[in-house]
Symmetry: D2
């Protein structure tokens, strides 16, 4: 607007085209190319998990890398109909939403508190790794990053402990798979070690065992595989979407209309002012 | 409320518990059971695609069934940054949304027109199959169901033709995989045959080849594998979510704030009334 | 693509500009014009309700028109924390969503069944009016359109009867306001008459009084004021958004993390298969 | 779970009821009470703006308070079809979404960057006011809170300056209305003064006038009226929802299917690797 010369049509068009630039996909009539690969060469060859990796990272993973990521995706699909995301999905279809809409309302709820624990735990682990890389002793790195996490986010450390499961069976199995992958040379085992050290430190601090949960174990796996922290939340969303879809579909089969959180006969509690009369003069100027 | 006797606390509680009943998952402290299987026995054993099937159908698919479904999931992940769902995802992150929120706004847009073609094509194919089952000749079944589809939904038959690709390379490859699966006894080939017959009928009707597109080919596969039509949309949402996530992430890396559909210097067109003055008395009673 | 000549940059740019054409608003640096009115002439002069009307209809309503629409907007703001939209909003903030995100997940649920009753009732009333306009007697028009509605949508006629309120106090008051507006010449009273006749017909059919509810009463008002049916849903969304926001905010003040539909100690019911073992060979080919 | 005694059905039921407690609304068959007022006494008496206030604050505002809030709500309804929220709404309806769904995807995008400026500016103004209350000189309070804001959020101070409008005509008018309201004793004028002082400080810092924009002016008004900062975003969402709805409706009238951000003939730019072949052995173990 303050340009000396207004841009030409060609320049504006180039701007518009550049505005929507991508390195993920190219399409031309009859051609769809994903990260450089003609899509017909990938279909039937790549597993869905490998395709997820290719789309997010730009390269095809090795089979063992994909298998480890896949275990994490399998582990997190569902945590029951009373998890808020799942409950929202089920309520939504009874309001008339199609499956995409129910999934949208539900996935939206996978925010910092309900869907961000894995990402936060990855940030914690990766910041510890960075400190070690720049010369800190492991113990110091863990203690000071833990202190910082708790100062910034409060006493619940994402990835450790569970309000429902004392031991999370998903975490136990996932950590076994990390050890196997380490033995086979697929991953270095560095983040498994950091995760275990965090667990020990927290247990010492609280005087009771605070075991790694599903978010901690997936954070270890995704970090071992080189994913940046925000993609941890992205992968969790892909995983939990499966449960959200399955429950939306089951609710559709069960039927029900405008289904709220509790059956209509269970009342809510009103805690506001007692009934009072409205007088128009209330809104007159004081 | 009109009950003769008010329900007891026990009865109300049972209602609440039943209100949230599910056959998908059971959880108890230390136990998570998916469709009857302890989750730790599935992690590391099932592929992500197999887990999707188990969650949606209640049983574990055979490896070839899972592989065929997986090919369809791989095929539909992305169709470029100008597809509205992908564009919404990219715009959303520049507005400050986290990845789950960007995915939600985008997935929501996979509605009847942008995400429902596969489901509609499955309904068409399955209603043709049903008519054949009840004694109609194939040709009659196809022609009359096609007529009905067009009467109800207009001349664009979901699953056939593409405004951009003359031949959709994804469909070609997917149909090859169906043929192989048929040869190996994984599927019957019935829906591939119905799909091809629809293609021929449409091409005859329009006097030009209207080839099956990605939505048609995935509809064939999901129907061959026994999925009900609404899950066709659900599977498409799971697949396209991968592209939506990848583009959200790429946009995050590119940066940009409050990014609209076109660069700010490319103006929109105003087609309303010329500037006019507002007079308060306009709103007075006539 | 099949064009003989590729379009020039100028032509493409014009296409892009036309693609985003609107008659609602024009902006230039330092100028914002709504439906032809410079916005600074509207601010402080128009009520929020009048602005809603101007945005949707293109002209400023008279004061009595705006007042009648406003009564309908006021009436529908909330129906308690167990309405699914409100419950979703409250659950969403406990998952970490900001207010806009909680509102989005909740508003999304105002679909056909939870938010479409007013629109459906407007369609019913307006199709009856159309039949009368083309010569049908009122009684015939009502009976046959009612029959059609029930055949297409089932026995619950949108806008009449309520599973909770025998008499809906909002509807009673709104219909009084329509009568006053009719006496003052603001509306014709035609749709109030049609609504009342539907109520009488339904009550005859069912042998018990099926009184008009909030959706019926707002459908009467919006139809009297000349709104097309889909905007009935739009106006309901604007109204209920107020309740959705108020409850999101109240929940934020109450606190709570990852709050599901019922407190954690009230279990859900599992109705799936008993625990079984997973055997890898299950997924081998048959 | 670790309770010595399991809770009784009565206790669990009381928990469930308390879980959904509210002070906003009470409903019983035939009765709907908002903040203590029977709803039928409010309908036809309160303006929509007054009802918004009552729902959010618990008390009915005076007429001049409501009028000032209303001016802010009127001012922010729309900023053209290329604002991402509005563009998302328009694109969404072409994908088949109903009005509620289009509004949901769009409102979701009113996050920190696209919808949070008013809230952030309120936080800034209110933290300055708090420092003054605890004894700081105004100038010190402004300079140090500005420094803190910039350190935490970067150099763009929410509420001041506009990339498109040099002078924002909405802000000018709104500030006039605040002055009038101050003269009439409706507000104290304290936040108008703080806002103006921020404007002066920023202009000094940058060596050019950085005038208050719409977000700054609404932040002043909402702060003058006693709203907490997060409700600033809530009120903005209510206001912008009107534009989002109007554009969704206009797009419905224009038609169009699966409308992306630019017409199909304007291409996007691919910046990834050149076409390469996929070799299955790539995914074999290293």
């Amino acid at each position: 607007m303050s340009d000396k010369q207004a841009p030409t049509a060609d320049q504006l068009l180039q701007q518009a085209t550049a505005w929507w630039s991508t390195s993920i996909i190219n399409i031309r009539p009859g051609e769809i190319v994903i990260r450089g690969y003609p899509i017909q060469e990938l279909i039937g060859e790549l597993s869905f998990a490998q395709m997820i990796w290719l789309m997010l990272r730009g390269e095809v993973p090795t089979a063992p890398q994909a298998k480890l990521m896949e275990a994490a995706l399998v582990a997190a699909v569902d945590h029951g109909p009373q998890a808020p995301s799942i409950a929202i999905s089920r309520m939504a279809v009874t309001c008339g939403l199609p499956i995409n809409g129910a999934m949208a309302s539900a996935i939206n709820a996978l925010d910092d508190i309900h869907g961000g624990a894995g990402q936060q735990c990855m940030q914690l682990c990766q910041s510890i790794a960075q400190r070690i890389d720049t010369g800190d002793k492991e113990e110091l790195a863990i203690e000071s990053e833990l202190d910082r996490f708790i100062a910034e986010r409060g006493r619940i450390v994402a990835g450790f402990g569970h309000r429902f499961h004392r031991i999370d069976p998903r975490a136990v199995k996932l950590l076994e798979l990390v050890r196997t992958a380490q033995d086979e040379g697929t991953v270095s085992g560095r983040y498994a070690r950091i995760g275990t050290s965090i667990e020990q430190s927290l247990s010492r601090r609280k005087g009771t065992r605070i075991p790694m949960n599903i978010d901690g174990a997936t954070a270890v796996i995704y970090s071992e595989l080189g994913f940046p922290a925000p993609l941890g939340r992205g992968l969790f969303v892909l995983s939990r979407s499966v449960g959200i879809l399955a429950h939306a579909w089951e609710q559709t089969q069960q039927g029900g209309r405008i289904k709220g959180p509790m059956p209509p006969k269970i009342p809510f509690e009103y805690v506001g002012p007692p009934v009072r009369r409205f007088e128009t003069k209330q809104t007159e100027i004081r």
